[in-house]
């Protein structure tokens, strides 16, 4: 009989790890609280830098793991330690004995309404990066007007912000904002588009090309200054205030749409659960890897492994690479080497 490996979370990390574990001859069991696989990526439209549809990636992964055991809309109620492994109890009454568990619980999108000054949920034309992707995917959104004259993107919403409870950089938002600004400009060629940033962190392969393109081909304006207030004019247009730090002057501009780049934050429920099974939680609230260079996949407990954004912010390719590495690490562990 094939050996069980429980995977907590059915996002791309869990799916990719399951695919590799199947190839290695194990029975991966994915436990997912939502009613679908693919996590945040399933909601996304296109992925940088190749602009491949996110749906394709999720579909490919789903097909590859058709032989895995998948529990949707299922939560983990408890995990008990045995001398040589774990028993994972599920909310549907199933209990699974296994020698290895993979944590792939991912991240939580920052709740933009917590940054009250941006008026998410208060004003009619303020949306998040995630809302915009859903709209790109065809969802209706009355907040996006038919012919916006001006659109703003606010970087670092809930990232690098002690007041929002997350002092870390979310890594992907700068690039996502550039990508979304280009996509939006393609839909609304007449709109002026502004990106309000503190630092542009475009570190990955081809990211800089996007930046150059955004400037050269799409005329997107980059304003170095963090938006601090959003008001509304009598005509119900948004009035955004920032400092144009490069010219050293306060700046205001009227917009028809404001997109907040909600950051990736830890899931406090995961941290709480982790503590009950004596898994270390890092100072940033994410799960703590054994070390952050050579042991990102490992936890402080033998047989408990990590992949993807449960240990910190990750890009999609990083997550997939980590999932593969985790599968191999589990294989090595189960062989007893």
């Amino acid at each position: 009989m094939k050996e069980n490996v429980v995977i907590i979370g059915g996002g791309i990390a869990g799916m990719e790890a399951a695919r590799q574990l199947l190839l290695l001859g194990y029975t991966p069991i994915i436990v997912e609280k939502k009613d679908h696989l693919g996590g945040h990526v399933a909601r996304w439209h296109k992925l940088f830098p190749d602009m491949a549809p996110a749906g394709d990636l999720v579909r490919r992964l789903s097909e590859a793991i058709s032989e895995a055991n998948i529990f949707l809309e299922t939560r983990i109620t408890s995990i008990n330690r045995l001398s040589n492994g774990y028993v994972v109890m599920l909310s549907n009454g199933v209990s699974i004995p296994c020698r290895a568990v993979l944590g792939a619980s991912g991240f939580r999108l920052f709740d933009a309404s917590k940054k009250e000054e941006y008026g998410y949920g208060v004003y009619n034309h303020v949306i998040t990066n995630s809302d915009l992707e859903a709209w790109f995917n065809g969802a209706e959104d009355p907040r996006i007007v038919a012919d916006p004259k001006a659109v703003g993107f606010v970087h670092c919403v809930g990232s690098r912000d002690l007041k929002a409870g997350n002092s870390q950089c979310s890594k992907v938002c700068c690039m996502t904002a550039v990508k979304q600004a280009i996509e939006l400009k393609e839909r609304f060629p007449d709109a002026r588009i502004y990106c309000f940033y503190m630092d542009l962190r475009l570190f990955g392969k081809k990211y800089e090309d996007f930046y150059i393109n955004a400037q050269q081909e799409y005329g997107i304006q980059f304003i170095r200054g963090r938006v601090s207030e959003v008001g509304e004019t009598a005509e119900e247009r948004l009035q955004v205030k920032a400092e144009d730090t490069l010219s050293g002057k306060p700046l205001k501009v009227q917009l028809d749409l404001l997109v907040l780049m909600s950051g990736m934050v830890c899931n406090p429920e995961v941290a709480e659960f982790a503590r009950t099974i004596r898994l270390d939680v890092d100072s940033d609230g994410f799960l703590k890897s054994l070390d952050n260079v050579g042991g990102i996949n490992r936890s402080n407990q033998p047989g408990f492994f990590y992949a993807g954004a449960c240990t910190g912010t990750k890009t999609v390719p990083e997550t997939l690479a980590e999932a593969r590495a985790a599968a191999l690490d589990i294989h090595r562990y189960l062989l007893g080497k």
Partner: protein, 610 residues
């Protein structure tokens, strides 16, 4: 009753006399000094109040309620109330009854003011009358009352929790001496009066005690030493009094009439502030009340330690304590004496030089009121509201639904109300901002000014002079709109816990109106500590030095207090509270305006009017 000692004098009264003369001269000197320190206008006001029958009556009532019966402490904790009032009122009655005895039996001795204190030593009982035995009974009764208070005081030193106090102030050396003297005075009095009871007479306490003592002592040799000891302890207590917390006894007698005369603290160290400082009884009720005390490191930053450091003149600590405080005002609300901790702190901040000389002349009058097309009702959101836009939006939405022809005068930004400058101790600069803002508001031609930020509202009430403009907080304003039928509201079953913002509750005494308005639209559940004892959110601008990290624990503690209500969500009425709470709250935090707006409909007739 006859004089047992013809001269009416014995040397053992000397320690008491010396102590009494010392403390009286000290107090007379102190009163004169403080009166001289008062600004002329305040002094006149004070004298006038002393001959105004209404204030005189209020003074007498307050002195009885606060100093003798400790009504506020009774409300806090019955045991604590009994302990304090038994000692204070019991002692007061012993002194009064002592005088009654002298007047009744030996009227020619009333000139000797030690006589009522040591009456039982100097007299011999000749016959027993009903009057006499009633007096003696009362004397023994009140002595018993005081003694029971003393026993409780001893218990409190080891078990303060029984008295509803988690923490008490650490006593200083002089406080300790005073405390032990106070503990010793009444048992010694009991002993002394018991030893003399077969001569002077006594009642249910002293007579049996006398009988017991005589059974195994058989002589009167203990009599004189005990009276000596009683007098010495009294004397020591009197000498220590001005240097210990017991100074609050005479100081409070001064504080109450001064407060009733409407005096305000005008100098950090002199006059009324001095009276406030000396009135602090060091009971330490403010320690548990202080929102900062959730951080162990900040326990010594509450008002009881401020008054102590002010008396010691420790400038480094005075600055530190003054700057750190959130100015939430809870210490003053719970203080039995009502020491104005926040007021003293603001004035101490004002002592410092402010090298940046601000100049507000460049502020353009047209900046405010730009969006001023509209009627005579003006809405002033204040600067903090721009950071919590849901408040301004909800207030204006309600005004629109009610068909009010209003204008939002600082929609595109205005200037600060001046309160933050004031609390930073920059009184002159704050005054300047206030004058500028008055000018800007008058220029809008408004007749009614609706304010939503309690920080602004308090400043408008206390420091603005806008004679032709009615300044009103939105809560009563919206209540009136509903009462007039201009707004229709629906009730919902969701349960809210209302957090009293410091500036609205303790600052402006608006406790019931927000609750009445909220309960018209939702269900209300009370936090553990509410109204005047509401816990500051920790975000207050009152503190100049608390860091963001230090405030986190305070906010979490304030939230725990609200969670106690088991409500689904939290309601408040201050942009600063809302922004602070939302950071850490596990449930929604909404402004009253937002909640009411969710449940309000326009009256159909209004729509036609528009």
């Amino acid at each position: 009753m006859i004089d047992r000692i013809p001269s009416g004098f014995h040397p053992f009264v000397l320690p008491f006399l010396a102590g009494m003369i010392f403390v009286l001269s000290y107090c007379v000197y102190g009163i004169i000094k403080i009166l001289v320190q008062l600004p002329g206008e305040d002094r006149r006001r004070f004298y006038l109040s002393l001959v105004t029958p209404k204030t005189v009556l209020k003074n007498i009532r307050d002195i009885f309620c606060d100093c003798l019966f400790h009504v506020k402490l009774w409300k806090r904790n019955r045991l604590l109330g009994y302990m304090h009032s038994s000692i204070a009122f019991g002692w007061f009655m012993l002194i009064v009854l002592g005088h009654v005895e002298v007047i009744l039996f030996l009227p020619h001795r009333i000139r000797l003011f030690y006589y009522p204190i040591f009456f039982n030593y100097f007299v011999a009982e000749t016959d027993s009358t009903i009057q006499g035995s009633l007096l003696f009974f009362l004397m023994d009764f009140f002595l018993l009352v005081v003694l029971s208070g003393i026993v409780l005081a001893m218990v409190k030193r080891v078990r303060s929790r029984l008295f509803g106090m988690r923490r008490t102030a650490r006593p200083s050396l002089t406080n300790q001496i005073g405390l032990y003297c106070l503990w010793a005075i009444f048992p010694l009095r009991l002993l002394a009066e018991s030893f003399t009871a077969h001569i002077s007479g006594g009642s249910f306490l002293t007579v049996p005690a006398n009988w017991v003592f005589r059974q195994f002592l058989g002589n009167d040799l203990n009599m004189l030493p005990t009276w000596w000891a009683y007098s010495i302890v009294l004397g020591v207590f009197m000498v220590v009094l001005p240097f210990s917390r017991y100074m609050h006894i005479p100081a409070e007698m001064m504080l109450i009439p001064m407060r009733n005369a409407g005096l305000k603290i005008r100098n950090a160290r002199k006059g009324f502030a001095r009276v406030q400082v000396y009135s602090c009884p060091n009971c330490g009720v403010c320690i548990d009340a202080c929102p900062m005390s959730v951080n162990k490191a900040n326990i010594k930053d509450c008002t009881v330690y401020l008054t102590r450091q002010l008396r010691r003149g420790n400038e480094r600590r005075i600055t530190e304590i003054s700057d750190k405080c959130l100015l939430c005002g809870k210490c003053q609300a719970v203080c039995q004496v009502g020491v104005d901790g926040p007021g003293i702190r603001i004035l101490n901040r004002a002592e410092r030089n402010y090298a940046l000389k601000p100049d507000y002349s460049s502020i353009d009058g047209t900046a405010i009121g730009r969006a001023s097309a509209g009627g005579r009702v003006a809405y002033y959101g204040g600067c903090m509201t721009q950071l919590v836009p849901s408040i301004g939006r909800s207030v204006t939405s309600l005004l629109e639904k009610a068909g009010i022809d209003y204008r939002w005068i600082d929609r595109d930004g205005g200037i600060c109300c001046g309160r933050p400058m004031w609390t930073a101790g920059r009184l002159k600069e704050a005054e300047e901002i206030v004058r500028k803002n008055e000018e800007l508001i008058r220029a809008t031609g408004a007749v009614t000014l609706v304010v939503s930020c309690p920080i602004c509202y308090r400043m408008f009430r206390e420091s603005y002079h806008l004679p032709d403009i009615e300044v009103v907080h939105y809560v009563p304003y919206i209540q009136a709109l509903i009462a007039e039928g201009k707004l229709q509201v629906e009730h919902d079953d969701i349960c809210y816990a209302y957090h009293d913002p410091c500036e609205l509750g303790r600052g402006c005494q608006l406790y019931e109106e927000p609750r009445q308005l909220l309960s018209q639209v939702v269900r209300l559940s009370e936090a553990e500590k509410n109204r005047a004892e509401s816990v500051c959110c920790g975000g207050s601008l009152g503190s100049l030095s608390l860091s963001f990290a230090q405030r986190e624990n305070m906010t979490r503690a304030a939230l725990e207090n609200l969670y106690h209500s088991k409500a689904d969500a939290i309601a408040t009425a201050c942009p600063l509270c809302q922004a602070t709470f939302s950071r850490y709250a596990d449930r929604p935090v909404r402004d009253i305006a937002e909640i009411v707006d969710l449940h309000a409909k326009a009256n159909k007739q209004n729509k036609q009017a528009i």
